[in-house]
């Protein structure tokens, strides 16, 4: 029996994608290729709901769905190919980051002024000074468990052995020009791993408390119920066993896992002691809050985020603490949800915007250590050149494989190639099939079409029952469905869902854009050319409207929790 694959063609907008966008949807996952800052095409996976939120609601772009019937074997091959590519790209990114870290390491060694600062992830959650014992009972419990199996003195011995290993570590730049699964760890990777292992053992030995600013809480959240306390307690018991075993692990990166685990375990013990949920502050250091949206939507913006962060936190709390114990992936989501909630409360208090973040915030608060000795490295300057060459060569190799090219390798061509490979056929594809809606028709000729539908944009979903309502919904000043994010160019009329009036509206938009840009010439010194840019960009995107072509749709500052729920 055939299974279905949805081909999603997203309409254009100014800014992120004037060329439109496409995606494949299998099961509840959407796969799409995006043009990354480094010029590479990156295969991204999103839950369907998250994809719709981003494109149809935040970017106001209708999504045209063509549901194709494919045989199960084809769908299975496609799923495997997409997953494999995601994994390979993740490995590519990790490898490039490691090669860049090599460049930084050899640059620091070349400028050696006697000390080298090494980053240790998650160690800065602790008030840590080597050789200074603390009173962290959660860490001490893990230590006792480890010593019970490893023997007294094991921490001192192992820590000394790791320091000796770090001091004798041969530091060589990577000599491979291309990425490979089996490539040896880079010098910077080994240095980081050893520094993290040494620090983890020292923290295990000293049992320092967490820093005062390490934990976050939601003062408005209800206290822990007896069932939640039981779930947290069971989670802590399970964590203790796993953490005590980490120093014996064959995995070379156990140091960070132990450091973060000890910090999280301490947070759980602190939660049990306080009777409320407390988690690590996972926000990266130096993260800058973005600009607030325009004043007219600001109150609704905060209200929407307040409802969303409270709802997500309640849901994650129930998921994590509703069972016998909390799974690691559920705890990480609870931690991120509480971080977002706390950040929103801070933003409301400070009158600033809350910070943006990936779906899961990785807690990595880094401690920079300058007391860990590396072997003298007289050839650092020469090795720096070699490290730079390796990083550059790896980037060039990846650019040849996955570099974005306007017509021959873009989000459309790559998805079609994956689909064709899974299907076992390779139909000739003329260049114009690289255009999103043309490609949808091409696929409709290749596979049986089960259904076509359109997922409406946020603004298009707004009610327009009368002429006055219609007109009101077509100006940026009055449209109820338009919640300006502050990123849009200057324009007055929406033209995306009106054809006859498009040139007239476009002419008005052109005039408004030019006028605003002209005013921007005067305000340039005061607003960083923001008005100038918005005005002339607005004029530019008005030109196609004169010829009946509409690209611009405006973007939204927020969506409400009700709108999210309605799409489930």
């Amino acid at each position: 029996m055939p299974v279905t694959v949805d081909y999603l063609a997203v309409e254009a907008n100014e800014g992120y994608a004037a060329g439109g966008h496409v995606a494949l949807r299998l099961d509840d996952t959407v796969y799409h290729l995006q043009n990354a800052d480094d010029g590479l095409l990156r295969l991204t996976r999103d839950p369907t709901l998250a994809f719709r939120l981003q494109y149809a609601l935040f970017e106001n772009r209708p999504i045209h769905v063509t549901r194709l019937a494919v045989d199960p074997a084809t769908a299975d091959r496609l799923r495997s190919a997409l997953t494999e590519r995601v994994m390979r790209e993740a490995a590519d990114s990790a490898r490039l980051a490691a090669l860049d870290a090599d460049v930084a390491l050899f640059a620091a060694l070349a400028q050696d002024s006697g000390t080298l600062r090494l980053p240790v992830r998650a160690a800065a959650y602790f008030r840590f000074a080597p050789q200074a014992p603390g009173d962290n009972a959660a860490v001490a419990a893990v230590r006792e468990r480890f010593l019970a199996s490893a023997g007294a003195g094991a921490l001192v011995r192992r820590s000394a052995a790791l320091r000796a290993q770090l001091a004798a570590l041969p530091l060589r730049p990577a000599d491979d020009d291309t990425w490979d699964w089996a490539a040896a760890a880079t010098a910077s990777t080994r240095v980081r791993e050893l520094a993290e292992q040494i620090t983890a053992l020292e923290i295990l030995a000293a049992a320092p408390p967490l820093r005062a600013d390490a934990l976050l809480a939601d003062p408005g959240a209800p206290p822990l119920s007896p069932a939640e306390r039981a779930a947290l307690t069971a989670t802590a018991v399970q964590m203790r066993g796993g953490l005590a075993a980490l120093p014996d692990s064959p995995r070379p990166d156990w140091g960070y896992a132990l450091l973060l685990g000890l910090a999280r375990l301490t947070a759980i013990e602190a939660s049990l002691a306080a009777g409320e949920i407390r988690v690590l502050d996972a926000w990266p250091a130096g993260d800058v809050a973005p600009a607030l949206p325009p004043a007219r939507v600001r109150a609704d913006f905060f209200a929407a985020l307040d409802a969303q962060t409270a709802s997500v936190l309640a849901r994650e709390r129930a998921t994590c603490l509703g069972g016998a114990r909390c799974a690691a992936y559920d705890y990480a989501r609870l931690e991120s949800a509480l971080n977002r909630r706390a950040d929103l409360l801070r933003a409301v208090h400070d009158g600033t915007a809350p910070r943006g973040s990936p779906d899961l915030l990785p807690p990595e608060r880094r401690l920079w250590r300058d007391d860990l000795a590396l072997a003298p490295h007289p050839a650092a300057a020469a090795d720096l050149g070699a490290a730079r060459h390796a990083a550059l060569a790896a980037r060039e190799a990846l650019a040849r494989q996955r570099g974005y090219r306007l017509v021959t390798r873009n989000c459309v061509t790559e998805l079609l190639a994956l689909l064709d490979a899974a299907d076992g056929r390779a139909p000739a594809r003329p260049a114009w099939q690289a255009i999103p809606f043309v490609s949808a028709d091409a696929l409709a000729a290749q596979f049986p079409v089960v259904r076509r539908e359109t997922w409406p944009s946020l603004r298009a979903a707004a009610p327009q029952a009368t002429w006055s309502a219609w007109l009101a919904e077509h100006t940026t000043l009055t449209a109820a469905g338009y919640r300006p994010s502050g990123r849009d160019s200057t324009f007055l009329f929406f033209t995306d869902d009106t054809v006859a009036a498009r040139p007239l509206f476009g002419a008005a938009n052109l005039a408004v854009g030019l006028a605003d840009g002209t005013v921007g010439l005067a305000t340039w010194p005061f607003d960083g050319a923001r008005r100038l840019t918005a005005g002339f960009k607005g004029a530019l995107f008005s030109l196609p409207e004169l010829a009946f072509v509409s690209l611009r749709k405006g973007t939204s500052a927020y969506v409400t929790e009700e709108e999210v729920e309605a799409m489930r």
């Binding site: 966008h21 043009n35 990354a36 953490l243 993260d287 799974a327 989000c411």
Partner: protein, 143 residues
């Protein structure tokens, strides 16, 4: 859309595809905080779905790695990266990790004798982990 004149297609192509939204991980715009909040709201709430997603990703990574003939040392580093994206740092304490590894090895057509070597290296004789890995191997379909 289909009535768009041919000349405008050139314009449509100018900006190419959507850009990778690095603002989801930093903060370039006011939309990013709202988008990331809504995105977390739109993620799956089911622990069972997260478990399946984790196992599938571990299996996918293992399959790709085993097919490429990479070595054990590099395997665990990459596995840590995959696990971390799911919020799992101590992946050795999670039996689901081993279920996923077993499934990935089976999908990659790793023969049972070779599978036993992987199992020994990864589980170090831990019966719970070995059972989970065997379960994943037995229940998966080779490709």
């Amino acid at each position: 859309m289909r009535a768009i004149p041919a000349a405008s297609l050139v314009l449509l192509l100018v900006a190419g595809c959507s850009f990778y939204d690095s603002s989801r991980s930093s903060s370039e715009s006011s939309g990013s905080s709202s988008a990331s909040s809504a995105s977390s709201s739109g993620s799956s709430a089911s622990s069972a779905a997260r478990k399946d997603s984790y196992i599938n990703d571990v299996a996918g990574y293992t399959e790709a790695y085993a097919k490429s003939g990479g070595q054990f040392d590099g395997f665990t580093r990459g596995l840590s990266e995959i696990a971390q994206k799911h919020g799992v740092t101590d992946w050795e304490s999670d039996a689901d990790t081993f279920t996923g590894i077993g499934a990935g090895l089976r999908r990659a057509n790793v023969p049972s004798a070779q599978f036993e070597v992987w199992k020994q290296n990864l589980t170090n004789g831990d019966a719970t982990k070995a059972t989970a890995m065997q379960k994943g191997y037995d229940n998966a379909t080779p490709k």
